[in-house]
Amino acid sequence: MATSTIYHHTLTNGMVLIAERMEHVRSAAFNFLIPGGSAYDPPDQRGISSLLAEMIVRGAGSRSHRELASVLDAFGADRSETAGRLALHLGCSSLGRHLPAILEVYADILRRPHLPEEELPAVQSLALQDLDSLEDNPASKVRIELHQVYFPPPLNQDSYGTAEGIRAVTASSLRAHYERCFKPNGIILAVAGDINWMQLRETVERLFGDWPPGSLPELQITAHQPQSRHLHKDTHQTHIAFAYPSVPVNHPQYYAARAAEMILCGGMSSRLFTEVREKRGLCYAISLQHKTFRHVAAIVGYAGTGADRAQQTLEVTIRELHRIQEGVDTDEVERIKAGLKSGLIMQQESTGARAAIMASDWFFLGRVRTFEEMQQIIDSLTPQIVLEHARAYPCEPVTVVTLGPRPLQLPSSCVPYEKQPR
């Protein structure tokens, strides 16, 4: 297999360009990562990062919103603008030959957005509807609420924001938020696919090189004591979301933590899937996900089940989480390694996936991990390493959010429900 080359160039203003040339593809994808996600929303304007993600493409440079959309559409560009918790992501995929022309348009979007005042009410209306639609999606609602109760402020702020926050945003506060977050020295541009590095580097230098740097916004993370919560709703299912502490992405035990998470709920042969769904038929959906910030991380889980079986589902789940400390099989770890390895290779077939992973790597680690490095990390996982991690970081205490007709009896390893029911 051909090994890939990862290119890197830091502009004098601090903006980072990273790129990977992928052979045999005609497409190219890029991802601008801008530190300015929902955690950066001022407390009285929660939701502003989502509004900015939507407003930033509504006209830029010499082009109106429609002109901008039409020039990108003409390149068949598939784009997305999303507000994550830590960063805004502006992503785009197209054919590689259109890349330089598309980047010209993005230089306007990032540097010269109009943020037109007359369009703000429409964008606020969309955000409010989005927030409303969350009420019609209990599985999403319960996860959002779990993040809210679990993570320390302001990391617990989600991109949906609040109705009051969305309404409080004005054209000038939006402009101020843009000025605060969009600094070249915080921005990472990751590109993957059919690229010509010399040409790409020259294009990016020309388009972004004269953008003056400035001071970056900082997050003040406050101490926080999570509490479990029940949300009352007459749903068919009881939706259970839960979280317990883990290690962040830059921690030496990160991959041991990921392996433990996958042993619990990775493939269909994982423990939770087997015990909760396959053996007992308790639910259709059950999942675990590792959620990381720079210094804080958690494993976040979800299960949805009939109200009459929710108590049993929670108990079986918690029991499995504890049982991992008793031992880890060689065969389990081999399966995890096989899954990680093939995932690593298949990642190389998707330009969009590669661009996103490269941007995230640089953001958290200050470098992009090579294929060989990743392979070595995966090879080095053993049952002993995973078990030691599971014992050093037991799956407790578990913070739980339930949404359904009735609260549950939380097992003793769970954080109790808050006093005031909702």
Binding site: D73, D78, Q129, G267, S269, T274
Partner: protein, 417 residues
Amino acid sequence: MPFFHTRLENGLTVLVETVPTARSVAVGFFVNTGARDETEAEAGVSHFLEHMTFKGTARRSAWDVNRDFDRIGAAYNAYTSEENTVFYAAVLPEYLPVAFDILADILRPSLRPEDFETEKKVILEEIRMYEDVPESVAWEHARKLYYNGHPLGHSILGTQSSIQALTREQMLAYFERRYGAANIVVSVAGPIDAELVTSLARQHCGQWFRGSSGRTDRREWRRDPGTFVLTRERVLQEHVMLLTAGPPAGSPHRFAGDILAMAIGDDRGSRLYWELVDPGHAESADCNYYEHDGSGCIHTSFSCEAEVAEANLERVQRILAEVQQHGITDEELRVAKNKIASRIVRASERPMGRMSSLARQWLTTGSYHDVDTELRLYDAVQLDDIRTCLDLYPVDTCTVIAFGPAQRLAGVDAIVV
């Protein structure tokens, strides 16, 4: 790309596209059966059977199936639609023989009674899960009302009562009827040669019973326009769906159908986007064209606050009437073609994309197009072709179904569902 196809003696179709530069290989078993092939008493059996295949075979327990897939690091799953039940896996090339073995094995499931009862509970939870999502409930009602007895309106999941009443014997009978080799297409794409795939197919599927292929009820469905307003407590958003006929699968008009739907209601830069979403009138608005065997359809839909549903419906109906009368512009045609070309190229860069595309084309047209041919077919569409498609399949005579808090819409009172 080198393409190969063959049919085994028992009627199993094997399709292979060799992509020497790919790093993974994708393999899929496409059973030409789904909700539309069920009798009323069997409602939901296709999807339930799809679940049951993973519960074990003569050679493997349910646990063995999952463990064997996970051991080779497979990305695997299955899904059921109105007319297809698909089992697939993507693996590193050296694991193709194992992945093929597991997939072929689970397509001859044991359907053990105790597994049947356990999995029934999972299916019932899946139905309850979707019951909690108003948008899913809305679409379920919309298809049922639009198809009004035509089998394409059958529910994929079935209902609590149909699943509860379903027996293992009914499932076995359905299996005998629909899972014969002659009704299955195996599609493989990746850095592998056709000989290997053929020999795997002979080895693992050569003994399968032939069975029958295709389906009997392939009527093209056209419905008189009408409006249905449905309501239910504790739903916040209004979902409005406008359904009408489109070119059937394999029709020469399907390329025009795709382009039309994209110009009307792609999620960005379409007429619906500019008139509903951009000004903030609706949270989302889309238009999609679906090919089905014998009968296609065009779905236009939007979701918004109930108070503005009426005004939005008028906007959408005006857009559809304008398109019907004047067609789309040169610019819209060009943009839609560019978007489609870019999507085809990007999807084709992964073996999973090619594997699915091969199988879908074969099932609908009985033929093969490589990526460049597919691109040319879209590129050849002119405004005249769009006009012809509109004349044959008008987009402005829709059945309208609304679901949400609105108590009255377009002069029709809501009924509680």
